[in-house]
Subunit: 419 residues, 3 copies
């Protein structure tokens, strides 16, 4: 389940979906420098041509194999600087200067390429068979007006699955992020946080839906009520954190780079209002689900080479539960500490891990159904994308999945359901 | 013989002994930060709990595999910061917060653990079967009063065996360390050194004893006498340098980290007097058998990444025979230069290597006897630890092993036999 | 064809030739420090003894395997600092101090060694069977007076073959090096360059000769004439760039270090005049075919760890076609970008690659003829070395190989044929 290279069952599953390939900011203008992109163990080059078209093509020139990262992005194509072969955004060779005038050779040269489409702050790609290309994704965070949304990314040095599993694991918040609940400008100061910290033994209930799962974590609220935090998972790797008061809502994609690295895409958006300048500033500084990256890169300043700048005094005082600063890096540090690909034969799952257990089953079943019967997996249909997380107080006898049907759907002009 | 991971014959042999796991200074107070320890290819965490008890447990949480190095050391145990699972020094889970109040699950969760005991400046562990755990070690350097002893350690980037073999190889001293004999504050200025430098063709004689070997190197002294330097080896990897005048006596343990790295533990002690301030200062600065480490680490400042700061001018002048500064780094540089695990099919052993030859035979035989018949190997019994090195002048017709029986034993209140 | 370790067919082929082992400047005086040399995947030590004799011997002492790089170079030999074993330039042990006076052991100890001979600025070795050792090489650049020649080297982080193939690939010059043709002090300002840039579709003709190939690239010159640039390749890896006006002539050797690294030896010489101070200065600064190396090393300052200091603005302006500065690094960056050993099953060779195609065939045939029938390959005979490159304008109906027979031969006192 951890392997996503070409030809692997999980790799084929991932190749059914539109997935984030890079941030739009990485290709800021026409004819700007090309960017190396590695996804699902394939090495590619993304570029934006003179007409603003985006392309994602094989990294290596068809001629002798030089990297097109050194290419000249000019006049409608990317030109290999070795012998001047030039490709358009679809990977087709459009000029081979050394060939005779009347040669038809050029028409037969084509690099592997994938579509690259800007929606919101993200450039999305689809790496599967062209004839099965689904409609474009419709996640709310990428469709709201630009001033209502913010997306960042960071390199995480472990397999995508152990990163993703953190995203649907609501029970660790009361421990690992307990400091953040009190102090993070994008998390703090809500009634829900009080419920969260007041009950360290949440009860988990997981409900299926056509695109994935809703993972409900139930904690005691008042005498006659429960506080429910509901995390949607849209297959294969989209998750949303349950909201907190009127804070922007955040979520993640966990995109395999190769089997030992992934991109954590982290977004924040508000369904009905612009983000405030203070909120955007906090996101840029690496608060909330975002990270403070080394300038010019997407690697966090706190990383495994420097033990995540752990501060044992802050750990002792409880300012940060683990001594690592920032919610994103608290997760990343522990997930990376498991090793590049954790040995799951040694784990001991408990009732609080029921979301993880169900998600693995669903991924496995979907990959097998695709491989054996060609069945399109859940989450491909854009209708499956129009979900929300929710944090609500319900009567003790209510079923979260019935009571929250509306709360868990995108409703235009209506704010998130949040306590 | 170079492999010491779980299940290997030499690994099983090592698991019969108490061995140094870390320096006591690495866990300086109750509830201090835990420390990563890798020994015999096993990754573990050492910590000291609120009551001052020491523990050495599996590095990874039983739940999801997060590293307990990020753990919170508090109130009698080490708590995983991911979901709050807490372990005591024996590796037993003492709290699993997400479990229901009445759950008995916690009682069944236990991490692999080994005893960790402070004797002198060292924390010792025994990684074998609990039912075969021998009595604690009784090496003199760790039993004398604290002011009489000093221990350091350094990371050596090669297999333990080629490091150890340097420790019983008395013949290289007249070459590699000839500069040190003249200038090192912890070596210089003895009559013995004159004998050492005056005869570059020592004759070797190796004598068995119940715990290992005594390697005697005989050099001409006066007309009618020989200068004998006698190095004891207690199995599997304890060696002592023959003493020099009234200098403190030094020795080593060579402890496998994994098959390509080892710890060189280096001690200096005097059986009957306190170390002087000048001696301790010299040890701290990396003189004698000690090394000058990168602050906050146990890696020498002079290491293979910087060619051990070799000084070709000093080499040419003869200040340092190889151009590398410091006795410890002279050894380390050459032993590491052989490669992580030297190819012993290519070596050409000579008569001066008889100690090495006998030691290898003894290790091989002991590992086989253990594997095939369960025989407890030499050196496990603490009685075997009570040996000393010696440097003596004997009549030409004397047998060193008979003449020095007392000199080679620990005698309380009696100083080392040293010229 | 990419593998050159001991026992491989291409490795055996390389072992028929004298090849550059290091620059003479690396062993600047008698008894200077020894130098690590890795060639054809063999690790060796080069040194120059007290009498000025050069030696190339196995890196590791025959005794215990310590690296002789730490050796003391003194009194006619290199002494291992571990136990004092001493070797002469032929690898024979000349002293083993620990052995008894009357021992004959020393006479039987010999390290693998190869001859090392200074010709011009280069120290050459021959790593094959002694009985087949050919006469010394006679390349013109190494035989002209010292003031007429200059040689540098740089580490290239890819297989030798993809580096070499760039050396006989005249068609990339009009693209990758188009900036250099205009601005490089060692390339610019010739009539030939105008022809070069005026015709981007050169026609290639490849002619066999007893020592290798002549690769002719034909471009339009005037109405009735062609501009021919002719690159000789002497097997296995000597190439010369066609000359430009009265600039010094340059060329290369591509010498395998191991299968993923090679040395690019780059020379410049003028057959009939001294190099000017300005020319030598430009070479030292890394212009022309030379590189600007990290002081004390032969690694270029612009290398794959820093993306060759690519300057996208300079690329956009066209100052440098690929954005990488310097002709040598333009080649190196692209050749290294193909990966350590490019996957040749994926390439698409075109008519402009006919030199590369023929060269591969010739290498393959020669390696097979050697392996199967013991046939001495082309390029071993020093007579094959006495070739020149040429850049000439010929009538449109002339055959370059017939018209240039004299231009392509070394003619003492006659300058290169160059436009």
């Amino acid at each position: 389940m951890t392997r996503t290279g070409p030809g692997t069952p999980m790799g084929e599953l991932f190749r059914q979906y539109w997935i984030p390939a890079l941030l739009a900011e990485e290709l800021p203008e026409d004819d700007c420098p090309p960017v190396r992109v590695k996804l699902l163990s394939e090495r590619m080059i993304a570029f934006r041509d003179s007409a603003g078209r985006y392309g994602l093509i094989d990294e290596f020139c068809a001629h002798r194999g030089a990297s097109l990262w050194f290419g000249r992005n000019e006049e409608g194509g990317l030109r290999c600087p070795y012998h001047g072969w030039k490709y358009d955004v679809t990977g087709e060779a459009v000029e081979i200067p050394s060939e005779p005038e009347n040669s038809t050779f050029c028409a037969h040269v084509k690099l592997t390429s994938y579509p690259l489409v800007k929606i919101g702050d993200v450039l999305w790609t689809y790496m599967g068979a062209p004839e099965k290309q689904p409609p474009l994704p419709e996640f709310e965070f990428s469709l709201v007006p630009p001033e209502q949304t913010y997306t960042s990314k960071r390199w995480q040095e472990c397999n995508w699955l152990q990163a993703f599993e953190g995203g649907i694991d609501s029970s660790h918040v009361s421990f690992l992020h307990s400091g953040g609940l009190k102090s993070d400008p994008l998390f703090k100061g809500t009634k829900g946080n009080e419920y969260n910290m007041g009950d360290l033994k949440p009860y988990f209930e997981v409900a299926d839906f056509e695109g994935g799962l809703f993972v409900g974590a139930r904690r005691n609220a008042e005498e006659d009520s429960y506080y429910w935090r509901i995390t949607p998972w849209v297959m294969p790797c989209f998750t949303m954190v349950p909201p907190r008061g009127d804070h922007p809502v955040h979520g993640h994609f966990w995109i395999p780079i190769d089997d030992e690295n992934c991109w954590a895409y982290s977004f924040d958006y508000h369904p009905v209002r612009a983000l405030t300048a203070a909120e955007v500033q906090a996101m840029r500084e690496g608060h909330g689900v975002h990270s403070d990256n080394i300038p010019g890169t997407y690697r966090p300043k706190a990383n495994k080479d420097n033990d995540y700048l752990i501060d044992r005094e802050a750990q002792k005082r409880g300012d940060t539960y683990s001594g690592v600063k920032g919610i994103a890096m608290q997760d990343a540090s522990l997930q990376e500490s498991m090793g590049p690909i954790v040995d799951r034969t040694k784990e001991m799952l408990v009732s609080a891990d029921s979301g993880i257990i169900k998600a693995r089953q669903k991924l496995k079943r979907a990959a097998e159904a695709l491989r054996d019967k060609g069945i399109t997996p859940p989450g491909v249909d854009p209708a499956h994308h129009r979900v929300r997380s929710a944090a609500v107080v319900l009567p003790r006898d209510a079923s979260f999945i019935e009571a929250c049907r509306e709360d868990l759907s995108v409703r235009e002009g209506v704010r998130q359901s949040s306590v």
